[in-house]
Amino acid sequence: MGSTDATLAFARGPLFYTALLIFIAGMAYRLVSVLLLGWKRDRVPNKGSKLRGVAVTYAKGLLIFPFIPWVKKTFRGNQTTYLAGGMFHFGLFVVIFLGTAHMLVWKSLLGFGWPTLALPIVDFLSAAAIVAMIALFVNRLANPVLRLISGPSEWLNLLIVFLPMVTGYGLTHHRLLGIVALPYENLYLMHMMSINLMLIWIPFSRISHFMFYFFSRTYHGAQAGKRAVMP
């Protein structure tokens, strides 16, 4: 038996198992730490509805603003970041949740599945997400302010998210970067290894914003709703 197969079985088996547990424990640790930082006592009576504030902030942030970005100052100031960032997140979401192979991973973990999109659509969006990531990387390199505030962890974040995406795209085409033909197993191994690395890395990096984004949006939405100033 080739060493690739043994390593692949390890990467898909015990290593993934361990990485997933570290991910779960790490995220729980982060969330609890933040929750226990302390809350200011709420002494002021509500002027408006907290719930309404939360609803409005999500509706605007996820459903309306992405389609009329020019009304936002963030967009006018950083168009590359906004557009490439948007394309990256959208592509990533589609690939992770609506790609058939990934849905089967969720199904094996959660016990239920859902309909998925056709391969060419997922394939196109994953390519778009990869291009967006490269654009974000170049932007970070070229923009003097961004470069100034980028430490090693920022560059590592980019790399650690980039690796699973490139190897995953290569996996569907049996070619790394669309050029180097490699056996499926080798690409699968690279993909699983980079995924395992990412799972372990996420809780201790800013990629954990996939959870804290919702945390902070809910909190700020509620605060705005309480003061009856719609976000």
């Binding site: 038996m1 080739g2 690739t4 197969d5 079985a9 898909r12 088996g13 015990p14 993934f16 198992y17 997933l20 547990l21 570290i22 779960i24 424990a25 790490g26 995220m27 729980a28 640790y29 982060r30 969330l31 609890v32 730490s33 929750l35 226990l36 930082l37 058939t100 192979a101 990934h102 089967l104 991973v105 199904k107 094996s108 973990l109 599945g113 998925t116 999109l117 056709a118 391969l119 060419p120 659509i121 499926y184 197993e185 699968y188």
Partner: protein
Amino acid sequence: MADETIYQYLLREGVSRRQFLKICGALAATLGISEASPLLAAGLARPTRPTTRLVAEALASKPRVPVMWLNFQDCTGCTEALTRSLSPTLTDLVLNKITIDYHETLSAASGVQADENKRMMMETYAGQYLLVVEGSIPTGANGNYCTIGGRTAVDLLQEAAAGAAAVIATGNCAAFGGIPMAQPNPTGAVPAYQLITDKPVAHIPGCPAIPEAFTGTLVNFLVFGKLPELDDLNRPITFYGTTVHDRCLRRPFYEAGKFANSFDDEGARKGWCLYKLGCKGPTTYNACAGIKWGGGLSFPIQSGHPCLGCSEPNFWDNGGFYQGQSAPISRPTITVAGAALAAGAVIGVANAAANRLQKRHADADEEITESLSG
């Protein structure tokens, strides 16, 4: 008998010259030895040496290659598949006429006589015969889980391999350990190549191995006197060069995202892709989708069942057959995941408590400093 060529032998057996050439054509096709360059295919160039002639010349000039077939921890399914394959001339030729001198299941002789035959064969054709291994070899309990005539499989294999020109391990058990080696591997089974280190070993994995892949490899040895070109897992590239997925007739449905979600839904009836039902086609290197089974009649995916990946190493332990091909092999249970969640939360609480304690100390220190200065 060693001096007699295959052609002479076949003539003596009542095969006509015309039949012989037809057989050679069939063998050339099975081998996949085609010298057809684009020029040849378009009829713009004359073949210098037609493949049929290549095979015919080899068979007419070469002596028979004796084959010894050893069965160990197997179900004899590979032999069954071979004897029942629907290319009768070919199989008949390979099994009965050209080669096989000793086969534990098929031989008419039994007991001491069969053993004696084998011993004679090993002496007469030392260094020339081809050894075919079917089934894995147990090493646990001093190899006593599988004995033939009072001798262990390890012993028999090593003795036979010592005088062999080359070894063909047929079926997943002989090639990669197969079902006997699946966890917890009670007999300590190992594939043949782990015990034969000084001889070339060709793998024809599958459960069972595709008969045409086996005969093709055998004939390659007959014609060229060596094993065919092998990949990094020692499989002949001719038969194991592409995945089942690559040649699958349901592939267009995969690309289009049309899947059967259960074995009796609309998609299953329409013959859509079986990927969601756990098909391992994308990671399985075999010729099923091309050569197919039963003389090109069908193969599992065509018949409506996902590929199990039976020609891959560890196929029995590589996740569930009906679990997605991309699914992880081991998954934490809800209890283990919950324990991880709780552990993380406890560390978070401890961390927060430590922070507060530190803050309180800092505040106290500040007060003392203030009172001292004030």
